[in-house]
Structure formats: C-alpha cells, structure tokens
Amino acid sequence: MKTRTRRLTIIALVAAAGAIALAEAWFVATPYPKVVTSGTAAIGGPFTLVTTDGKTVSDETYRGKWLLIYFGYTFCPDACPTALTNMSAALEKLGPNASELQPLFITVDPQRDTPVVMTDYLKSFDSRIVGLTGNQAQIDGVLKAYRVYAEAQKSEVDNADYPVSHSAYLYLMDPQGRFANVIQSSEGGEEIAAWLRKQMTHRNG
C-alpha cells in the first residue's frame, strides 16, 4: 500500500512537472498573431528609412494610406519572391482600390540590400511596391517597432552567402498608422486581395 501511494505521488509529481513544462512551452512558443489579431497591440511606430531612389521617408510620409508591409531580403530565393509575387498579384486584383494602399518591401538585410540592389530586384514585381532600406540602426529600429525578428544565420565558413530568418507575414497598417492585421505572405494574390478588401471596408465603414 505504501509503495503504491509513493508511486502515485511520483506519478502526480511527474505529471505536475510535465504540465508546468507544457504551459511554459506554450507561453513561450505561442505565435504572436494570436495576440496581435485581437486588437491594437503595439505593433508599428515611428521609423526613418531610405527609399530605393535615395529619399528619406518616415512612417508619417504614408499617413492617409493603408500600408501593406513585407519584411524580406533579396538574397532569399524561395519565400521572398513568392511573397512579392503574391503582393503584386493582390495589387492587380484590387484594381482601383489599390490606390488607397501603399505596398512596402522593407529589407531585413541592409548590408547586402543597398538601394541599387533593391531597385534592380523590384523591377521584377509590381512597380507600386516601394523598397526601403537604411543603415543597420534604422533597420533595427523598424524591425523592433514591428516586432519582426530577423536573424542572419551567418556561419564561420560562409560569411557572404548567409540566409536570414525573417517574419513570414504581411503587415497591414491603417491610414492613421495603426496596426490593423497580418496575413501569411504565402497566401495567393487572390486571397490577399480579398482579405485586404475586407480589412479596408471594415475599417472605413
């Protein structure tokens, strides 16, 4: 009997420890869109960046327009062309409504993505997408404001050809510069256009 109680106690302790570990893991690993979609969390904020044609812009430059922002980099062969292609298709699908929107491609990799590199790269996508870069501090600032985690996966052997982990979302900000919502950048153009239409009517109305 005594052994059984002890065994039960051990099982209970193990279970409790497991539950705590799981709860911790859940809190740590919960993807943040679960939080951000619930309202106006502190996503976004002031930034100063440089357009591909050398103009300095800030968040205030775009007041009065919806902002659709993708954070990526040109060295990325798979996810970034997909996202920018989807964005381009969505703009086309939006038709005249696209004029209420300013699409932005902000690099997470300013060391390699100079204005010249970005200008060239963006020629392959919708011409309304504006490329933004800056110095490392400016980029760090905007990434922090948008709670975007970017991390260069540099290795000792390969210092030039490194991939960068980056957010998989498109961020939508309303004309007052407030965070509206996010969508997976891997969604097709049609889905993104439908989502944008819904978001924009919802807020306008």
């Binding site: 690993a29 919960t30 993807p31 943040y32 869109p33 040109t74 060295f75 990325c76 062969p77 798979d78 996810a79 062309p81 997909t82 920018l84 292609t85 989807n86 381009s88 590199v117 060239d120 790269y121 963006l122 020629k123 392959s124 996508f125 985690y149 996966q153 050809d161 991939p163 982990s165 980056h166 957010s167 998989a168 979302y169 950048s185 891997s186």
Partner: protein
C-alpha cells in the same frame, strides 16, 4: 454513375499528366528525377531556386549528396520552415531518399538553392543541373525556367489546377 466516371477521368488525366512529365533517369540508377524546373530570378538576384521530384524506386535507401550547375557557383539544398511566424531557411547537407518514396522540392518547402548566379535565370530558358547520389551516381537533368515567383512549372499549370479543384470539392 456520374461520380465514378469523374473519378476515372481524374485518374486518367493524372496518368496522362504523369506521362507528359519530363522524367529523366540514369540507366544504372533506381532514382528517377521528375519535373525539374526553376524560377526566373528577379533583377540582379544573386540566388535562384530550382525544384524537382526525386523518386527512389530501389529497395535500398539512397542519398542526394550534392549538385552542380554551370549557371551558379554553388548549389545547396534548403528547407523553408515556418515556426512562430518566422520563415527560416535551413541547409540540408544531404537529402535522404527512402526506398519507394517520393521527395518533392516545391516552393515553400524544400528548394535547390543556386548560390552566386553567374547569369540571371530567364523565363523560357533551360539550364543543366547535375545531381550526385550516393548509390545512383550522377544524374544530369535539363531544367526549364518558369516565371519569377511561379508556384509550378509553366507547362503544368492547367493540369495541376484542375486536380487541386477536384480535391477540394
């Protein structure tokens, strides 16, 4: 009556699609390379992505060890994973090929990364890619280039679409 007919038609279409696929095999090998294709690269891009399907028809496991192409300095195998809203590329030094199984390289999943391109990849062009397997040895494939950001090879678009729609119903 209508339903089974539709099903048979779908299977027949799928078979035809399969037969049309540009299957390239080395005679000595049990690894078949199907549907190789690549995306055209945006202006000035230093990297490109190619995709294909590897089928190990053999009884033993095999491994994709590496690849070379005249259009790029280096060829790497990568998987893109999304964790907690982060898109992360992970290099796979070796790709394991289980017997009687398909390994698919597709946008958003695994891709063959062409690093330091010597020339841009332009839609409609082709380039050669030489794959080295542990057992099957060297297999050379010709890779056609589709649009920038394409999700599938150009010639497959209508067929794949039809199939997807059928599956959703």
């Amino acid at each position: 009556m209508k339903r089974p007919f539709k099903l048979i038609l779908s299977i027949a279409l799928a078979l035809i699609a399969g037969a049309q696929v540009n299957a390239q095999t080395s005679s000595a090998s049990s690894v078949v390379v199907e549907r190789p294709w690549a995306r055209a690269t945006p202006g000035g891009a230093k990297t490109g992505a190619a995709y294909l399907i590897l089928i190990n028809n053999g009884e033993a496991p095999d491994q994709l060890l590496g690849a070379t192409t005249p259009v790029a300095d280096k060829v790497q195998f990568h998987s893109t994973t999304e964790e907690n809203g982060m898109s992360r590329m992970r290099e796979m030094p070796i790709v394991d090929l289980v017997p009687h199984a398909k390994t698919t390289f597709d946008p958003g999943g695994m891709h063959i990364m062409l690093v330091d391109l010597k020339q841009p990849l332009k839609e409609g062009q082709t380039f050669s890619l030489s794959l080295t397997f542990a057992k099957a040895g060297k297999v050379d494939v010709t890779v056609p280039v589709a649009k920038v950001g394409a999700m599938r090879p150009s010639d497959m678009a209508p067929m794949m679409h039809h199939h997807d729609d059928t599956m959703k119903e």
